[in-house]
Each structure stands twice: as structure tokens, then as C-alpha cells.
């Protein structure tokens, strides 16, 4: 049917053990009614899974990477640089992939109709950014350090300061949504979302590192957050086009 010979496509390795939370994690109360009861069924990866959406730079607007320049004036709070690389588990950069972020303002409030926390809204901070990684898998945002905020998971529950990250990678299988935290945050050990990651070393990889290198003198402190997506099995397998 298909005269042109096609190269065998590699398969993706499973997630590293204990790096991913389970769907059911009762300390995070909302998982209890939303986690499946049945075990996930195995799916043999096909062309459907090893391909995935490809985005172009044309969807990104000029100030999308700088959350401090999206309003009429400057937002309140401490300016920060958040930068890093998107890599695969084999250590290779993931170039030209979409990175989306969103976060609370410096007072710990989201401009969202369902956020009823009584902290102030900042009319100059909309809390969303997006960019594409470059050839080396690098991305960079300028934003405001997000505030901590209370939530109703349990008595006196507070979320540590965090920035939500959404990354696509090379295929349907590499899709990742996560949260970046800040070093030294005393709330981390009390946070069920952070603690839902079984391996403490994996947990620490969700914590950004402070880096002088990325600091802009007299303007903004720099934080580095590298993201590692699933990698391919390096051993060739059968032809998925078959």
C-alpha cells in the first residue's frame, strides 16, 4: 500500500518509578470523587500516540512572555525572571514546543470568577503567559512572584507560592501539566499536592532554584526551572506504520 519505505519510530519509555502521583490521593480531598476506581487499561502505543500537536510561533504575541507588561501600568509585586530548559528523559533539548504558564498575583489572588479569596485584584496583572522553546529547549518569562493563598482542602490550608506550567513536547505521550514552586517555601511540606509525588527527589525537582546568572541587576531576581518530559526508548522496535 505504501511504496515509500518508512523508518521505524521509537517507542516512549514509561514514566520513571515514583515520579508521578497516583490519581487517588485522599489528603488532596478533591481526588476522592474524581479518581477512577478501575485500573487503567494498557494501550499499545501506535501512530496515534507517538504523534502530537505541532504549534507555530504565529500564535504567540509580542508580550506573551512578559507578564509585567500586559496591562496599562505595572503590576504590584516583586519582579522575577523564570527560565529553564525543556528536556526529554534522555537529556536532549525539546525545541520549538509550547510552554504556557498561569499564576496568582502578588497578593495570592487569581483574576478568576471562582476565586473568592478576599485578597486584592491587581488591574495590571492578568496572570497568564506563553512562549515557545528555542533550538536548545530554552524558555524565559518575566513575571511577578506569586503570593501564597488559603484553600479549603482542610483546616487552615495554604497553597505554597507556585506557577502552573503546561508543556506539550514531541508527542501525545509527552503532555505535561505541572506546578513550579519556590526554594525554601515553608508551606511545601504541608501541601498535599506537592506531597502527592511519592519520591522526595522527584518532589524537589518541582522546586525552582535561585540563580544569580538569570537575575537582572536592579530589576528582577532569577529562578531556574527545568522540565523533563518522557523520553524515547533508544532501542529500535517494530515498524509502527505496519
Amino acid at each position: 500500500m505504501n511504496a515509500k519505505p518508512t523508518p521505524p519510530l521509537p517507542r516512549y519509555r514509561a514514566y520513571d518509578r515514583d515520579t508521578q502521583p497516583e490519581h487517588l490521593y485522599p489528603p488532596y480531598a478533591s481526588t476522592v470523587k474524581r479518581a477512577p476506581h478501575e485500573p487503567l487499561l494498557p494501550l499499545q502505543a501506535s501512530l496515534s500516540e507517538i504523534t502530537g500537536p505541532v504549534f507555530g510561533f504565529e500564535r504567540i504575541r509580542a508580550n506573551d512572555w512578559d507578564l509585567t507588561r500586559q496591562g496599562k501600568g505595572e503590576p504590584i509585586g516583586e519582579r522575577i525572571v523564570v527560565t529553564g530548559r525543556v528536556l526529554d528523559a534522555n537529556g536532549r533539548p525539546v525545541p520549538h514546543t509550547l510552554v504556557e504558564i498561569w499564576q496568582a498575583n502578588s497578593a495570592g489572588r487569581y483574576p478568576h470568577r471562582r476565586d473568592t479569596h478576599n485578597a486584592p485584584i491587581d488591574p495590571n496583572f492578568f496572570g497568564a503567559g506563553r512562549t515557545m522553546t528555542d533550538e536548545q529547549g530554552r524558555y524565559r518569562f518575566v513575571t511577578i512572584r506569586p503570593g501564597e493563598y488559603p484553600w479549603r482542602n482542610h483546616y487552615n490550608a495554604w497553597r505554597p507560592a507556585h506557577i502552573h506550567f503546561s508543556v506539550f513536547g514531541a508527542s501525545f505521550l509527552t503532555r505535561l501539566i505541572t506546578q513550579m514552586y519556590f526554594p525554601g517555601d515553608p508551606l511545601l511540606e504541608y501541601d498535599p499536592m506537592f506531597m502527592s509525588v511519592p519520591d522526595p527527589r522527584a518532589r524537589q525537582r518541582l522546586v525552582s532554584t535561585f540563580e544569580w546568572e538569570h537575575t537582572i541587576p536592579e530589576q528582577a531576581l532569577g529562578y531556574r526551572f527545568d522540565i523533563v518530559l518522557r523520553g524515547r526508548d533508544e532501542t529500535p522496535t517494530e515498524n509502527p506504520f505496519a
Binding site: 497516583e22 474524581r34 501506535s46 496515534s48 503546561s166
Partner: protein, 184 residues
């Protein structure tokens, strides 16, 4: 290197995700049969999930994915990415309009039935769920290797029911009639 851990999308996903929400996946020039898929997402109590996001990945009507690794000699539709993002509304409902995907190889010598690959995110979900939507009435469903591997009693959760050009497909997160989710 170890893979970065997943964390929940949270309740305020719309702030970061809405810019790319568009229920019309296929522009007017894209070839293929026009269909709509709509449904509701419910939790273990049957309560609607009002803060879910669904991302859909599909082949075009010729069965080709718009991705550099699908190198088969089949036509691509200009401007059709094969990807779409929708969120549930205040009643837990979602809908998208697109073209019916063609058949793609299953890697085992056969062809898969037309299907959508779906990723689901929501508050209360620490990592995504992955499932598929097949279309009721398609004769190819009988030969699909993925459907065949699902216990017969649960297979219907993956198949959208048809009413003209409109299909209905619901997501039941847990309990009776629980949707089949895949470990990919």
C-alpha cells in the same frame, strides 16, 4: 534524567488555557465529514465537573496526522492541526465540531477504526487521564485492536452514540459506567 512530576491543573485553569480554547477544530476548507461531539463530565457522585479541560488529537479525513513523524504519502489539510482544546461549562458540558478522522495503522498490520485521542485535566486530578472516542455505527469498530482489548462490558464507554451529524460521548470518572482510561 527523571521525568518531571505532574501536578493538578487546578480550578483556575481558564486563566492560562482559554486563549487556545476553540470548539471548531476544522476550518471551512478542511476536507471530510463534518461532525459534532458533545457530552458531560461527571464525578463519582454523578455531579457535573465544571472545571475540566479536554484536549483532542486526531488524524485528518485521509488518516494522516499533521506531525513530522507521520511521513506516509497521504494528503495533509492546510491549516488543520488535528488538535483542539475545550473546557466544560457551568453544567459540566463540553462540545467540539470537527471532521471525522480517517483510519490509521495500528502498528500490528491492521488499521484502527476512526478515533479521537483525548487527554483530560481537572482540579482533583493530579495527573491527566487518557481515553479515546470511537464513533458508533462505523463498521471498522469491529476490527479495532484497542477496542478488542477492552472487556466487552466496558467497550461502550469509548463509543459515542450517534444522532445524525451529532455524537454524544460522556465521561464518567468513577463508579457505575466508569469510562475506560488508558495507561499510555
Amino acid at each position: 534524567m527523571y521525568t518531571t512530576s505532574s501536578q493538578t491543573i487546578g480550578p483556575y485553569l481558564h486563566i492560562g488555557m482559554d486563549w487556545a480554547v476553540d470548539p471548531d477544530f476544522a476550518g471551512p476548507n478542511v476536507q471530510g465529514e463534518r461532525i459534532e461531539v458533545a457530552g458531560i463530565v461527571v464525578d463519582g457522585d454523578g455531579a457535573p465537573v465544571i472545571d475540566a479541560m479536554l484536549e483532542v488529537w486526531q488524524a485528518n479525513s485521509h488518516g494522516r496526522y499533521a506531525h513530522p513523524e507521520d511521513t506516509r504519502d497521504l494528503p495533509l489539510d492546510e491549516g488543520f492541526t488535528g488538535w483542539g482544546r475545550v473546557t466544560t461549562d457551568d453544567h459540566g458540558r463540553f462540545a467540539f465540531r470537527t471532521i471525522k478522522p480517517g483510519r490509521v495503522p495500528d502498528g500490528r498490520g491492521g488499521l484502527q477504526a476512526p478515533h479521537f485521542n483525548v487527554t483530560i485535566f481537572m482540579r482533583g486530578m493530579l495527573r491527566q487521564l487518557v481515553t479515546r472516542i470511537y464513533l458508533d455505527g462505523d463498521a471498522a469498530n469491529a476490527d479495532d485492536a484497542t477496542l478488542a482489548a477492552v472487556p466487552p462490558a466496558r467497550r461502550a464507554t469509548l463509543v459515542a452514540s450517534r444522532s445524525g451529524p451529532r455524537y454524544e460521548w460522556n465521561v464518567v470518572l468513577q463508579g457505575g459506567g466508569e469510562t475506560v482510561f488508558f495507561d499510555v
